[in-house]
């Protein structure tokens, strides 16, 4: 019997243990946040520091009325949704595949998680040129080998291409977490289930997946954060196009911050992203939150 709630140890200790993390994070959050809030209400273009002054919500208005804004929000959600779905499902599948011992398991496991070690820029360039290029990319070569017309990913399926690249990178992360989590699954429970007549699938459904609930929650939340701010991959591959087909909110902010150098609008955009993230997070917490405090 384990207590989850209170412990006899004074409550001060746990608080002290949390304090360094909480305090530093608070500072790390609050200073930029306040500055961003301030910037978002003034005219502040790095290229024109001479023109400044309070302009109310004009920056927000400008950001939100961007013709690509709607597409960007949709694309952001699409990217988050599909990459999370792919990496959770794929990650669980792969983790299960390599959970039981087999010859070379260590190597396979290492291979599987290594894409996560690749820098996003390299990843993007590699996929764009070596894999997806419609003339000399590997996919094109395969397609030509089978006599099919190569797909022009960047032009015809820009979001799909981005999703593939980003998933390729993040699936191994999920996989890594799941592999580790599977290690703590109690063997005797599985045995009990087998005795109860559970097939492999039933064991998966009723024991393994519930056991993975918390890691899944962690993966979903962490990936959400990183996916929310993906822009490097988009910038290097599609440049947000064609049109705004692969523009997401982060890219929109990036455009304002580092192409237009408009810190004011970028700040407004960043705060909008915070808002969006909160909405998504609340939604996700609804979905997965319960598994956290099990």
């Amino acid at each position: 019997m384990s207590s989850t709630a209170a412990q006899a140890a004074p409550r001060l200790v746990p608080r002290l243990l949390q304090a360094p993390a909480v305090v530093t994070l608070f500072l790390w959050m609050i200073v930029p946040l306040v500055m961003t809030l301030y910037f978002s209400t003034i005219r502040y273009n790095l290229m024109q520091p001479d023109q400044s002054g309070f302009i109310g919500l004009a920056n927000y208005e400008f950001f939100i009325t961007d013709p690509s804004f709607g597409t960007a929000v949709v694309n952001t959600l699409l990217l988050i949704g599909s990459v999370i779905a792919i990496s959770v499902v794929g990650g669980v599948a792969l983790a299960l595949l390599v959970n039981e011992p087999f010859p070379g398991r260590g190597i396979v496991r290492m291979l599987l998680i290594s894409p996560f070690f690749v820098m996003p820029t390299v990843n993007a360039l590699m996929w764009k040129h070596m894999m997806m290029n419609p003339i000399y990319g590997v996919f094109a070569q395969i397609a030509q080998f089978f006599g099919a017309t190569p797909v022009d990913f960047m032009a015809d399926w820009p979001m799909t291409a981005v999703v593939i690249m980003v998933s390729w990178q993040w699936l191994p992360f999920a996989c890594l977490i799941f592999i580790t989590a599977l290690q703590s699954l109690d063997r005797e429970q599985m045995e009990a289930a087998r005795m109860d007549g559970a097939t492999w699938f039933a064991q998966l459904r009723y024991l393994v997946l519930p056991h993975l609930a918390r890691p899944v929650a962690v993966v979903v939340m962490i990936e959400m954060i990183f996916l929310l701010s993906v822009f490097a991959e988009i910038f290097t591959t599609t440049g947000g196009g064609p049109g705004d087909a692969s523009t997401n909110v982060a890219f929109l902010i990036f455009k304002q911050a580092l192409l237009n150098f408009d810190a004011g609008v970028a700040s407004a955009g960043a705060l909008f992203a915070v808002l969006l993230a909160n909405i998504v997070a609340i939604f996700l917490v609804r979905l997965i939150g319960k598994s956290l405090d099990k």
Binding site: E188, Q189, A192, M195, A198, K294
Partner: protein
């Protein structure tokens, strides 16, 4: 025809040879109890039967079918694990109904069966709890409940009542017996509790170090142990086994020839403690254990032999007091130097 056959079963864990060749035949509907010292291989044997461990050597035949390599989930056995192995994320109810749900049983039937098991096991109030919110005994009961809601071919119980209080243990024991009578399912039951072994078993299997020492009905084992180990293992407090040379001449004179240099075994009830001087066997009291209805008196003779005597009344003796003993050799067991039973003179 034999229902479950274990043929020359061996099991090794790396260098540790745990089961060293077990042959056993169990009839359909039989209730077999495994007993043996801690670590002798009872759980391992159960797990081999359950298919949770690979049999290294030997064959396992169930109902005429070789199941040595059949996966657990297809053997139709129910097992109560010594360590419970509850599903931590499922409520008590879900834990118990899991197998039935897997088998796609009718929900009404599931509810009824789980309800019945919960009632038997006094778990009614805890159906919605998670295992971590239960006491040790409650967890154990859930583990039992999980097995008994099913109607498998074979029940495997691994010390299922060890964490229950006497009253509940008695009650649950009766329920298990009843269940066995009703379902007629072949049952293998591991226990350290003599009462359970004696009352539940059709046959008791005594294991030691991965080998079967003796198989027989409870009273057979009690009355005619094959060797010193079984003699001492069955019955509490255990049989007094004393080297012949430490026994009074009176006893020694009755020993059969084969027991020369061996020892004699006397159950505590064969020893009567009497006021000092009343018999030639002098002893001093070492310890008194008053158990309520009975009293155990531990004495040591002048020859250095230690005896536990069982008495059905309270005792006014004090440790250190001098007493005399009457040893009832009619019920003595004789052992040769190797510990094997030697028939007494009367029998010979």
């Amino acid at each position: 025809m034999a229902f479950l056959q274990l043929q020359g079963i061996h099991k090794r864990f790396g260098p540790v040879h745990t089961i060293k060749g077990v042959d056993l035949t169990i009839e359909r509907g039989e209730f077999v109890v495994f007993v043996g010292p801690s670590g002798c291989g009872k759980s391992t044997l159960l797990r081999l039967i359950a298919g949770l461990e690979r049999i290294d050597e030997g064959r396992l035949v169930l109902d005429g079918r070789d199941i040595t390599d059949v996966p657990s989930s297809q053997r139709d056995l129910a097992m109560v694990f010594q360590s419970y192995a509850l599903y931590p994320h499922m409520t008590v109810e879900d834990n118990m109904s899991f197998a039935l749900r897997l088998a796609k049983a009718d929900p009404a039937e599931i509810r009824q069966k789980v309800g019945r098991a919960a009632e038997i096991l006094n778990l009614g109030a805890y159906l919605k709890r998670l295992p971590k919110e239960l006491s040790g005994g409650q967890r154990q009961r859930v583990a039992i409940g999980r097995a008994i809601v099913r109607s498998p071919k074979v029940f495997l119980f691994d010390e299922p009542l060890s964490n229950l209080d006497a009253a509940l243990r008695g009650q649950t024991r009766v329920e298990i017996a009843k269940l066995h009578r009703e379902l007629g399912a072949t049952t293998i039951y591991v226990t350290h509790d003599q009462v359970e072994a004696m009352t539940l078993a059709d046959r008791v299997v005594v294991l030691k170090d991965g080998l079967i020492e003796q198989v027989g009905s409870p009273l057979e084992l009690y009355d005619r142990p094959a060797n010193r180990f079984v003699a001492q293992f069955i019955g509490t407090p255990q049989m007094n086994v004393v080297p012949l040379e430490q026994t009074p001449t009176l006893v020694r004179s009755e020993a059969p020839a084969g027991a020369a240099g061996g020892s004699v075994g006397l159950r505590p009830e064969s020893i009567v403690v009497q006021p000092a001087g009343s018999t030639p066997v002098e002893a001093s009291v070492e310890l008194i254990e008053a158990l309520g209805a009975e009293t155990l008196v531990y004495v040591r003779t002048s020859a250095g032999a230690q005896f536990a005597a069982r008495q059905n009344s309270r005792s006014t003796l004090r440790p250190g007091e001098r007493v005399s003993l009457t040893l009832d050799t009619r019920q003595a067991h004789w052992f040769d130097t190797a510990g094997r039973v030697v028939p007494g003179r009367a029998a010979a």
